[in-house]
């Protein structure tokens, strides 16, 4: 069985080394870099005092890297895992092998996870390099350090009190953010891949519609609903880990709302749940697959 899964894994990886797939790999890596780069460029080009605070950079990176890009990458690989074989009419050739269907599911799952994580981490690395202070800002930070306790706040053009960019950058700790985001990617990619594989197995013909619906409804809306149901989403657990690993300070006025939304579970609890997602969802996918019928004559689910 392990050999079968390994064969599918290697076969899928080999097939992914084509120009279109590699172009898609680069798109995944480039997307967060492009968005973060645009924001950074707009700051540099505009008023440097409008630099977003550390929390906002973390928010951007979180939304882009372990969430959006990882979701998109795993969704496009995993949801059509079965439907692509059915449309190609190759499914029957795979399933008349010993545990063929199971091997295909697990092999494709491993291929997807290992294929998606590298470009996401590459994009994250580039994005963190972009938000890191440049030479001029580093000098400002050094100056600020020399004049401590200097006034860290100033009144911006809108008349609001704002943390000086040099201070914001000083607190940024880019590689701490990188390490936090990288760990989240390594947890979110396997979890999302397992979710999308299950959706694609339950409903191969309408898998993509189901996956997009799930992402919008559950991961983007229900995950923000302060109820027990939000604990079923991957987003909820990633959010809790982001607060913890990025050492985000929640303003006192938002503390009660955040506690309701995120809960008070310890970090290991969120990690454990995210690590349990893949084996549980993969087991369900295999069970669904083994009970499903696909006709080779029409190659449609009957």
């Amino acid at each position: 069985m392990i050999g079968n899964v390994g064969a599918v894994f290697l076969f899928e990886w080999k097939r992914s080394l084509t120009v279109p797939r590699m172009a898609w790999w680069l798109v995944l890596a480039g997307f967060p870099v492009f968005i973060i780069g645009l924001i950074r460029f707009s700051i540099t080009a505009g008023d440097v005092n409008d630099a977003p605070p550390r929390e906002l950079w973390i928010g951007f990176l979180f939304a882009l890297v372990p969430m959006l890009v990882t979701m998109l990458g795993t969704m496009l690989w995993m949801t059509p895992a079965i439907s692509a074989e059915l449309e190609r009419r190759s499914w029957v050739y795979l399933t008349v092998r010993p545990n063929g269907g199971t091997a295909v599911l697990l092999g494709k799952y491993l291929a997807a996870v290992t294929w998606v994580i590298p470009p996401v981490l590459l994009g994250l690395t580039c994005a963190v390099l972009i938000i890191s202070p440049n030479a001029e800002e580093a000098e400002e930070i050094a100056n600020a350090r020399r004049h401590e306790p200097a006034q860290p706040f100033f009144i911006n053009k809108h008349g609001q009190r704002q943390l000086a960019p040099s201070m914001a950058m000083r607190d940024l700790k880019p590689w701490q953010i990188w390490w936090a985001m990288a760990r989240m990617v390594c947890l979110s990619a396997p979890a999302y891949a397992a979710v999308y594989l299950l959706l694609g197995t339950i409903m191969p013909r309408r898998g993509m519609v189901l996956a997009v619906g799930y992402s919008l409804l559950f991961e983007l809306i229900i995950s923000f609903v302060p109820a027990v149901i939000n604990k079923l989403t991957v987003h909820h657990h990633l959010q809790a880990l982001m607060l913890e690993w990025c050492e985000l300070e929640i303003p006192p006025e938002f503390m009660s709302g955040a506690a309701t939304l995120i809960g008070n579970s310890p970090t290991w609890h969120h990690i454990a749940i995210l690590m349990l997602y893949p084996p549980i969802l993969l087991a369900i996918s295999v069970a669904v697959l083994r009970s499903s019928e696909f006709s080779s004559s029409a190659e449609s689910d009957v």
């Binding site: 084509t18 499914w91 006709s295 004559s297």
Partner: protein, 308 residues
Amino acid sequence: MIELSNVTKMYGKVIGVNDFTLTLQPGAYGLLGPNGSGKSTLLNLITGQLRPTQGTIRVMGESPRNNASLFRRMGYCPGGEGFYSDVSAYDWVKYLQQLQGMTAADADVAAGRSLELVGMSTAMHRPISSYSRGMRQRTKLAQALAHNPEILILDEPFSGLDPIGRHELTTVLLDWVDLGKSLLFASHVLHEIESLTQSFLLICGGRLLASGTAEDVHAMMVGLPNEIAFKCSDPHRLGELLLRERVVDSLRIVDATVTVATRDPARIYGQLPGWLKTSGIDVTEMHSADESLQALFNSLMKMHRGEL
């Protein structure tokens, strides 16, 4: 080898296979039936792709559904093409053998040997997208043979093959049967099956209509009207000629085509050139195809319904 007991498969309200009961001992069998007769559904049931709505199926004493040990002993060549266009035949067959449980090294050897057996050794490293239909059929057969199964189940494997290809693959399959292995070969063409085995299963409308040897099938066909269509320069004169010679049971003329039903096709085929020469009628097309077989199926269906 294969045992079906009152097997019925329903697709919603449509019957795919209808109360099928059958016991096959090891050997070679031809599953003969027109398109849409339920052959592929039956093979899907036997290979465990589908679950019967009613009844039980045993292949080599085991239920075929999700049965890993049975799949190690079974080779299946489905009717549809299911290739990865960017992959070579060699890589594809090797991949499927690895899924069969072979190591990469063993799969290498098995894929090469099997593709050579079906005459694909020179083209096996080219992408499948560059193959002709016949080459694809050969590749499909290679993947079913490569792991040296005990039973081979083939669904229309000669479809799209040229006469030389048919002959070559027939030889491959005959050699394979001579090794004492079992074969179930589905086709809608009588002579394709006849070239491989003398044991037939006749299926139509999801039902097993008859089973027996080639002689049994031919005996059933004796006395059944054979339909022949002629496209000619003067259909009314040809019709008159055939009626005068008393060789047709019925006749109809549509445009330039004369379609006749006859119980004596051999006489028509034997004497038609002479009749055409003396009458000066030009026949540009003549079709019989497998109409006789269809007539047999129609008659057997009527017998099943009690209409004959």
